[in-house]
């Protein structure tokens, strides 16, 4: 059962992400990404990382994708993205080689066998419970830092995106393309 689920998820995720990576339409890409993330949370559930799965669902599939969706409103999302893609050969060569290397590394028997736990003895416990314990003891400082970071990011997002679009606080208009500026003003 687990095997079937894993393969099913794997294939779906890979497919969806491929769509994301190569689709011309932003909407399609985004939808595929969101779907892929949901499926990844499924993988997490299979692994028994319930809390992580939940976070994945809530934060990624929910919050992040929603952000993207809102962000896209600023762009013209309905149009196909016109890209002058660089020669595919190099791209596939590079990513292919890295894929092969990574797979080879991970598939090598040495890797799976030699990994040892630094902190053991948490297995079998109720996952969210244990996570809560670890998070607020051992990883308290990083957790707080992450919280601050999120706060900063939130403020930054607000500041950056909420500026009046036609007049900037910074000098971004100084060396702007005059045509663009003209267009902005027409709007």
């Amino acid at each position: 059962m687990e095997t079937v689920a894993f393969y099913l998820f794997s294939i779906l995720i890979t497919g969806l992400f491929l769509v994301t990576a190569f689709s011309r339409n932003i909407l399609y890409a985004m939808s595929a990404l969101a779907a892929g993330m949901v499926l990844i949370s499924g993988l997490f559930f299979i692994m028994g990382a319930d809390f992580l799965g939940a976070v994945q669902l809530v934060v990624y599939s929910g919050a992040v994708m929603a952000l993207y969706a809102f962000g896209m409103m600023f762009f013209d999302a309905t149009r196909d993205v016109k890209e002058k893609n660089s020669p595919a050969g190099i791209v596939f060569l590079l990513s292919g080689i890295s894929a092969v290397i990574l797979v080879a590394i991970f598939a090598a028997p040495k890797i799976g066998e030699n990994i040892k736990a630094l902190v053991t003895g948490t297995k079998g416990a109720d996952n969210p419970h244990v996570i809560g314990e670890v998070l607020f003891t051992k990883y308290l400082v990083p957790f707080e830092v992450a919280a601050v970071m999120l706060l900063v990011a939130m403020i930054a997002g607000i500041v950056l995106a909420s500026k009046k679009m036609d007049e900037s606080l910074s000098e971004i208009y100084i060396d702007a393309d005059p045509e663009t500026v003209a267009k902005e003003e027409q709007k």
Binding site: S86, I90, V91, L94, S95, I97, S98, I101, L102, A104, I105
Partner: protein, 632 residues
């Protein structure tokens, strides 16, 4: 006695510094007088020392102070006055005094009067250091010092411009000065090498210690030292092939020629060989080589003097020739004979030069003898002096030259070096000829000087009186030969003629006098009645042209050394230094710059490209990690 040594040595220095105080001022007569007096004091001190040593037979040594002390090298300013030194000192200061006094007349209207006396006295000081020093390095100080003074004095009229060789064979005073300095430097290197050899083999450069330990050295080393020192002597005494500077040195004022380039400095080389007699008497083969070189120079220089028309150059060649005689004598082991000839030569050659100075003054610095003639009338005393000097130079009894030159010929005969004897004998004839050719061309015959508009006049009385001591010595010095021999052989090895030579002496004397008289008679017949020029001969005779152009040696040096050196230097600078060495350095810098310029293109501002590079880097790094793991 020590005080006398210091007086003799430092009076000229004081004199020079005194004159230097006024060097940039216009003429001050007092300077001439004071310097002359100071040099005179030096003369008095020298003669007193000479007499004292004559009486006591002991050398006077003083040590002034330390000079160079490094490692095991310990060199002091030490001075020794022994028999040879005393003779040299007396000769040098005597001629110097005469020349100083005479210069008051000769330079009377020169605007650099004071400067001249400063240089001249500085020269005397250097010369005194040279002859009085008790070690080789002290000698070297004087050696270089006289070189510099000679440079200053030859180039005294520095403002004259360079001419071509056709107009002025010496090009210009400053050129001649540089030539003299550089040629002497070539020889000085030899001398320096000799000193190094002495130092590293004996650990000292003091004469007394060096000569006492010569037996510690191998024969090869002795030969090496002998040759190295002789190379030094060749430069200062203008021996072939370093002789060209002496004739060009005639660009200097005539008193300078009399003092430096006839009587004193050029004999320094002979002095060195005489001084180093313990060394040279152990290496007769080098001595023989010296004699051969001297003999060759004697006839070589005499031949050039035969045809030259330049009053001073003729005397210069004759000096060269006489230096050859001295080297011949010294090389054959007759050191006192060389010293005797040195002293005698100093007297009559200085006299001759000073006389030439009078003539030049009368002729408004015209030097071409073909434009003179008949000066006997206006310049009786000068004629008398120059005639006397020429007789002495030709070796006519009873003048000094007769005794000294004859003895050299006897030595050559005695040593069974008949080739040397014959050459020197022949040279004696040539000497007589060119000396009297000069006398007759200048003082006899038709008065050709009218063409150049000269109004000849006799020199001032005090100038003529100043010449008198030299004239007297040129006459009587020969009669003191026995005393001289007795005196100097206390230091120098006595040279005894063999029985056979003793018997031959009167024949030799006769033969020599005969050829000298022949030379004079030929000159009389050819030149006393007036100048008959054979232009065809002068222009087309190859031998004449060869001699007149000094065997083309100056031109050869110019073409073989000076020019290629200049061209090589230009190549070294422009081709090698700029195009190779510096270009390599700049090339490296350029390579770095180009690399930067090329790699700058990677920085094209496109994130996509960067990302690709990043991925490539990632692959590279992981690959290396994998490989290194696998290999392990």
């Amino acid at each position: 006695m020590e005080n006398l040594v210091y007086i003799a040595l430092f009076a000229p220095l004081v004199s020079s510094l005194f004159a230097a105080l006024f060097a940039q001022k216009p003429k001050i007569q007092l300077v001439g007088i004071v310097t002359s007096i100071l040099i005179g004091i030096s003369l008095l001190a020298s003669v007193t020392l000479l007499l004292d040593i004559h009486e006591s037979g002991k050398a006077v040594s003083v040590t002034l102070m330390d000079w160079i002390q490094a490692g095991d090298m310990d060199i002091k300013f030490g001075f020794t006055v022994d028999q040879v030194t005393a003779v040299m000192m007396s000769v040098v200061t005597l001629v110097s005094t005469v020349v100083h006094v005479y210069s008051n007349y000769y330079m009377e209207s020169d605007k650099s009067f004071n400067r001249f006396f400063s240089y001249l006295s500085a020269f005397v000081f250097s010369m005194m250091v040279l002859v009085m020093s008790d070690n080789f390095l002290g000698l070297f100080i004087g050696w270089e010092g006289v070189g510099v003074c000679s440079w200053l004095l030859i180039g005294f009229w520095y403002e004259r411009k360079d001419e071509t060789r056709d107009v002025n064979p010496s090009i210009s005073p400053s050129w001649a000065a540089n030539e003299a300095f550089i040629m002497n430097r070539i020889a000085d290197l030899g001398m320096l090498v000799g000193i190094f050899m002495i130092y590293w083999n004996l650990g000292t450069v003091k004469y007394s210690e060096v000569f006492a330990h010569l037996d510690q050295l191998s024969h090869g080393m002795l030969v090496g030292i002998g040759i190295a020192l002789f190379i030094g002597a060749m430069g200062k005494s203008a021996q072939f092939p370093l002789h060209t500077w002496l004739a060009d040195a005639m660009e200097g004022p005539t008193p300078v020629s009399a003092l430096i380039h006839a009587a004193t400095m050029v004999t320094a080389g002979v002095y060195l060989v005489i001084r180093a007699n313990p060394l040279y008497s152990q290496i007769p083969e080098v001595g023989y080589f010296i004699a051969v070189v001297g003999t060759f120079v004697a006839i070589f220089a005499a031949s050039m003097a035969l045809v030259n028309r330049d009053l001073k150059r003729v005397i210069a060649y004759s000096t060269l020739s006489q230096l050859g005689y001295m080297f011949a004598a010294a090389g054959l082991g007759a050191y006192w004979v060389a010293l005797f000839h040195l002293a005698a030569h100093a007297f009559f050659k200085a006299l001759l030069f000073i006389g030439a100075g009078n003539v030049m003054h009368a002729m408004h610095d015209e030097l071409d003898m073909f434009k003179m003639g008949g000066l006997k009338k206006q310049m009786g005393w000068t004629f008398f002096y120059m005639g006397l000097a020429s007789l002495a130079l030709s070796g006519i009894y009873p003048l000094a030259g007769f005794f000294s030159k004859d003895t050299i010929l006897e030595v050559a005969f005695n040593e069974h070096t008949y080739g040397i004897w014959f050459t020197l004998w022949l040279t004696a004839g040539l000497t007589a000829f060119y000396s009297f050719r000069q006398v007759f061309l200048v003082f006899f015959g038709d008065e050709r000087y009218h063409e150049i508009g000269a109004h000849p006049h006799e020199a001032k009385a005090y100038a003529l009186w100043a010449m008198a001591p030299l004239a007297i010595l040129a006459v009587i010095f020969g009669f003191y030969k026995e005393d001289f021999v007795e005196f100097v052989t206390k230091l120098l090895p006595a040279y005894e003629m063999s029985e056979h030579t003793h018997h031959m002496v009167w024949i030799l004397t006769l033969v020599t006098t005969a050829i000298a008289l022949t030379g004079i008679i030929v000159a009389f017949i050819k030149y006393s009645k007036g100048l008959k020029r054979d232009l065809n001969f002068e222009q087309n005779n190859k031998l004449y042209k060869l001699l007149y152009n000094q065997y083309y040696i100056p031109v050869l040096y110019e073409k073989a050394f000076a020019k290629p050196y200049k061209e090589l230097s230009d190549i070294a600078w422009q081709e090698i230094d700029m195009q190779v060495v510096d270009a390599t350095v700049d090339g490296i810098a350029k390579a770095v710059e180009t690399t930067g310029d090329v790699s700058r293109r990677a920085q094209n501002g496109n994130l996509s490209t960067y990302l690709k590079w990043m991925a490539a880097g990632l692959i590279f790094v992981t690959l290396i990690t994998v490989i290194s793991v696998v290999i392990k």
